[in-house]
Structure formats: structure tokens, C-alpha cells
């Protein structure tokens, strides 16, 4: 089975969020970057488990500039076989998805996995766009994925319950919690990752469909109003009369 896992760089979850250039760019100064957690914990690890069960290869691909190479090495250390970097700054989801589609077309991947969303842009878009561009069926926010021959069984959580879906490969699936357990790379993995192939391909010249023109931070909360733990009637009264939420 040939599996492609799309990974993205994301700021560490504790990173300070601030902006530069007139609030038009995320301030990367002193920010640590990680593999987007959904891509690493769920998409990549599930791909590795499927490879362990069925044989095959796991390729990781990212649209990014050379600064993402360290996170690519991390994903290789966890166990991916090879990596491809499409050399461009990902300007919007469509731009990213189209670059990925141009790369993946004609490569006959049986399964393409992405994370549920990037924790910086929170779009949940790239997977669906990629599926449409490749004309493949698509399951969003999956929490379970099993493969038997050329058939896949997928579960995803909806507000009403868990939906069970079947489909024939090839498929695009975005991975959410439940899919797999996080793996910590070991020393052997880290050593091996240094010599695994990382191919850089040139990006196509494409225009984005959307642009972020300004970032802002939520207004900071006023000071917390403390309530006597013995006096919950007061809290209820404040929630009713002041906050008007009950």
C-alpha cells in the first residue's frame, strides 16, 4: 500500500501569539515550530500502523520553505520512509491543496491522509480540496480507519453519533483524535531520519483565492469577579441579572 501523509508546520501549542508588519503577519520570532499535532499524532502514526499491517511505503509531503526541514526530519524519525517538500510558502488553503494535487496526481497513492486541521489556521480545508482536485472520495474528521485489501472502513463522530462508512481505495481521509496513539521517535529513528530521502520539488506558480489582510487579538477579559464558595445563590443571580446567560 502506498500512503501519502500531508504534514504542516505549526507553532508550538504554548507559543506566544503576536503579529508584525502592521498585524498582517504572524510573528515567528522566538516561536518553536512543531509538526501540526493532528498530522503527527494521528495521520502519520495511523499510516505507519497500516504499513506495519499491510506492507508498503509512507511518504510525507509538505508545502513549505526550507525552514520546515527540521520538522520533516522529525516526521521521518517517527518512521516515514521518504519526504517531499514542495518549495513555496503556503499562502492559502487552495494554493496548498493545488500544489499537493499536482504532486500526487499520477503517483497512484492508495491512501492520502491529512490532519483534521492545522492548529494555526484551523481551516479543515486542505484535505477536502485535495480530494476534489484528485476526484477522490473524501471523509472528514475520521477517528478510525481500517483497511482490508482494497476496501477501507472509516468511522467519524457526528453530533448524533458515530457514522460508519465504507469505500474502495484510493481515498482521502482527514484524521482526528482516536485514530492512533502518539509515538515518540527513538534514537535509531532519529539517526535513520538523517539519511532518508528528502526531495525538494519546485512549486507551480498559482494565485491564492483568499488572503489574510489583518490579524487581531481578542479583547482581554476584565478582572475575574470572585464569589464566596458558600454563596452560590449570588453566582446564580449574577449569571441571571448581570451576565444574562441563564
Amino acid at each position: 500500500m502506498k500512503i501519502l501523509v500531508c504534514i504542516s508546520k505549526a507553532p508550538d501549542t504554548t507559543a506566544k501569539i503576536s503579529f508584525t508588519e502592521n498585524d498582517t503577519r504572524f510573528n515567528e520570532d522566538k516561536v518553536q515550530f512543531i509538526v501540526n499535532p493532528y498530522d503527527e499524532w494521528y495521520a502519520l502514526v495511523r499510516a505507519l500502523e497500516l504499513k506495519e499491517q499491510h506492507g508498503g511505503t509512507v511518504t510525507i509531503v509538505t508545502v513549505g520553505e526550507p525552514d520546515v526541514d527540521p520538522i520533516i526530519r522529525k516526521a521521518l524519525a517517527i518512521g516515514a520512509d521518504e519526504a517531499v517538500r514542495i518549495n513555496a510558502a503556503p499562502v492559502d488553503s487552495y494554493f496548498t491543496a493545488k500544489q499537493l494535487a499536482i504532486y500526487a496526481k499520477d503517483k497512484n497513492f492508495d491512501l492520502i491522509l491529512t490532519g483534521k486541521e492545522t492548529i494555526n489556521y484551523n481551516g479543515s480545508q486542505v484535505g477536502g480540496m485535495l480530494a476534489e482536485l484528485l476526484e477522490l472520495p473524501y471523509v472528514s474528521v475520521a477517528r478510525k480507519l481500517d483497511v482490508n485489501g482494497t476496501e477501507a472502513t472509516i468511522e467519524r463522530d457526528l453530533p448524533a453519533g458515530t457514522e460508519v462508512i465504507e469505500g474502495s481505495l484510493p481515498l482521502v481521509v482527514t484524521c482526528a483524535k482516536g485514530m492512533a496513539e502518539q509515538r515518540i521517535p527513538n534514537m535509531r529513528g532519529i539517526m535513520a531520519a538523517r539519511t532518508k530521502p528528502l526531495t525538494v520539488v519546485e512549486a507551480a506558480d498559482l494565485k491564492p483565492l483568499t488572503t489574510i489582510i489583518k490579524y487581531s487579538l481578542p479583547p482581554s477579559k476584565g478582572a475575574v469577579k470572585l464569589i464566596d464558595p458558600e454563596n452560590m445563590d449570588e453566582l446564580v443571580s449574577l449569571l441571571h441579572n448581570e451576565a444574562k446567560v441563564i
Binding site: 477536502g128 465504507e166 469505500g167 490579524y215 477579559k221
Partner: protein, 322 residues
């Protein structure tokens, strides 16, 4: 020219989010001097569909032949409806179905999509500028859509629909579309008697401070009394005290209820990321230094095992006297 709203109808039931997306679509249509058409599917009774007029729909197109949330089938249905109605704006809910459809349609029509919008767009000439959450709710981004057709998926609980008594006209809409390849087998219902977390207006949440899964009764009692959904912090879901679908935060679900009550949760930045869109936050914690107090509107420094039951009683009393 019209504003098209896709209303999800999983398993034959119109999604609650339809009132929000239709109302949101109507706000945009008013600015464009146009009207709202809804496209939906499945076997839904006429009255329910006509009632979407209450929120601003003029017309509802329904395809009763489509019965499951097949990504490719529904994409084709929306694309046909957009063409039939000459839609220049298409609205979705930012829920699992919206996350499946909106990106597909965006790629198909090469139409710019803002996913997870939290406000009505500003219109600048032919460009829409739409605000959305980024960095898991820690910041906002104003996104410009440059294309002629504009796609927006709306974060649940971002608008408060106002109802009128207008009715929409309902038409069957059965264009020639090819059925998608996925097969939908079953829906294993989860045992929530209550409200789904993402749609809930009030959420009662608890963390490791509750000490063990057997202690959740006091959380559920309060939630029951408030008609609230229950949620939890990540470690609580990871150790299996609570089901995974209750995990809120940066790596769980992001929610924006009117009222979020957190007991025994420290308020780590990754937890806050999923809940700081809540309108009002109440924090109950024994530790006055818990970081959550900085993000709270109301704080109770005290033992959840005493405070929660006391709060439940106070709510009961309040309900009885109102």
C-alpha cells in the same frame, strides 16, 4: 443572483445549525439586495422546510432522493443548485458535513472559502472580508475573498437568529447527478440524552481535579439542571474517565457556548484555546493561582465537591422561583 445556504439534514433531520446559517445568509443577502435559497436533501416534511422562512429563506430546494451525507453526491447537488440560482455566495455550517463539502466545492468552483467565520462579512467593492478564529481561538484573522463566488462556513453559535413568521416556498430539486462512491453503513448513536457539545448554549466541564470517573455525578447533575452539555479536559479523556468526544481544547473540540462552567480544570493554554470563545466563563478551583481565573468572568475558589452540588441546588431554587 442569490445567496445559497446548504442546510445539512443528517439521517432525515434538519440540523439545528440551519437556523443560524440561513439567518447569516439573509444578513448578507440584505446587503446585496438579493434573496436566500436553501438547498437540502432527504425526507423532511414540508412544514419544517417552509419554516426556514422564519430565519430569512425565500426558497428551499430539497432533493428527497439523496439520503446520506455522501461527499461527492452533495457536492454535485450544491454545485447544481448554485448554478440554477446563479449564487454568488454559498454558506455552510462549520461542522463535520460543512468541513467535508465546503472545501470540495471551493476547489471545484475555484471559489475562495473562509472556514469558521464568526461575523457577518464586510463588503469592500467585489471583495468580502470575513473574520474567523485562528490559532485555536487565540486570535482573529480578517480574510479577504477575491473570487466572484464566495464561500463561507459559519462557526456554530456565532450569530443569534431572530425569527419572523415568514414562510419559504419549497420545491423539489432533483438534477441529474452522479452518486458518490462512499457507502454509508450505519449510525451508532451515542448515549447523549442531552445536547450535542458543539451546539450547546451552556457547557459544564470538569478536569483532573474531580479525581476519578465515579465522581462525575455532581457534574452531570448540574448539567442536567442547566440543560447543558458536559465536557472535559484532555487528560481526563486520555485516561478514559470520560469519552473522547467530550475533550475540548486545542487538540479537541472548540466550543463557543454562552456559558462555560469549568470545575477542577487548571486552565492550561491548550485548554483555553478551545473555550475562550465562550461568552461567559465560570471557574471553580481550589487553587487561587490556577491560570484559569485569568480567563474567567466569575471565579469560585473552593472545592468542586462542595461547590458543584451547592450550585445545582441554587439553580433549582432559582428555577422554582422564576
Amino acid at each position: 443572483m442569490s445567496v445559497l445556504v446548504f442546510a445539512d439534514a443528517p439521517h432525515g433531520k434538519l440540523a439545528k445549525s440551519a437556523s443560524e446559517t440561513v439567518y447569516y445568509g439573509k444578513k448578507i443577502a440584505d446587503k446585496l439586495s438579493s434573496t436566500v435559497t436553501v438547498v437540502t436533501y432527504g425526507n423532511i416534511d414540508q412544514a419544517t422546510l417552509a419554516a426556514l422562512g422564519n430565519y430569512g429563506a425565500s426558497k428551499v430546494l430539497v432533493n428527497p432522493e439523496v439520503t446520506d451525507e455522501n461527499d461527492q453526491t452533495l457536492t454535485a447537488l450544491c454545485v447544481e443548485a448554485a448554478a440554477a440560482e446563479s449564487a454568488t455566495v454559498i454558506i455552510f455550517s462549520f461542522d463535520p458535513t460543512g468541513k467535508m463539502l465546503a472545501p470540495r466545492i471551493s476547489a471545484k468552483l475555484e471559489a475562495g472559502l473562509v472556514a469558521g467565520a464568526i461575523a457577518i462579512p464586510e463588503m469592500e467593492g467585489d471583495t468580502f472580508v470575513v473574520r474567523k478564529n485562528v490559532f485555536s481561538g487565540k486570535a482573529f484573522a480578517d480574510c479577504a475573498i477575491h473570487t466572484d463566488i464566495k464561500l463561507i462556513s459559519l462557526m456554530p453559535n456565532s450569530v443569534k437568529p431572530v425569527q419572523t413568521d415568514a414562510q419559504a416556498s419549497v420545491e423539489n430539486f432533483t438534477p441529474e447527478i452522479t452518486t458518490g462512491k462512499l457507502r454509508f453503513k450505519e449510525l451508532k448513536a451515542i448515549s447523549t440524552e442531552g445536547v450535542p457539545l458543539t451546539e450547546a448554549e451552556t457547557v459544564v466541564s470538569a478536569g483532573r481535579g474531580l479525581k476519578g470517573p465515579d465522581n462525575w455525578g455532581i457534574v452531570e447533575d448540574l448539567a442536567h439542571e442547566l440543560g447543558a452539555a458536559t465536557a472535559c479536559s484532555r487528560p481526563v479523556a486520555d485516561i478514559g474517565w470520560r469519552p473522547h468526544h467530550e475533550h475540548v481544547g486545542q487538540t479537541g473540540i472548540a466550543i463557543r457556548p454562552n456559558l462555560y462552567i469549568a470545575a477542577g480544570i487548571s486552565g492550561a493554554i491548550q485548554h483555553l484555546a478551545g473555550v475562550n470563545g465562550s461568552k461567559v466563563i465560570v471557574v471553580i478551583n481550589t487553587d487561587p493561582e490556577a491560570p484559569f481565573f485569568k480567563a474567567a468572568d466569575y471565579g469560585v475558589i473552593g472545592d468542586a465537591f462542595e461547590v458543584l452540588p451547592r450550585l445545582t441546588e441554587a439553580i433549582k431554587k432559582f428555577k422554582a422561583s422564576n
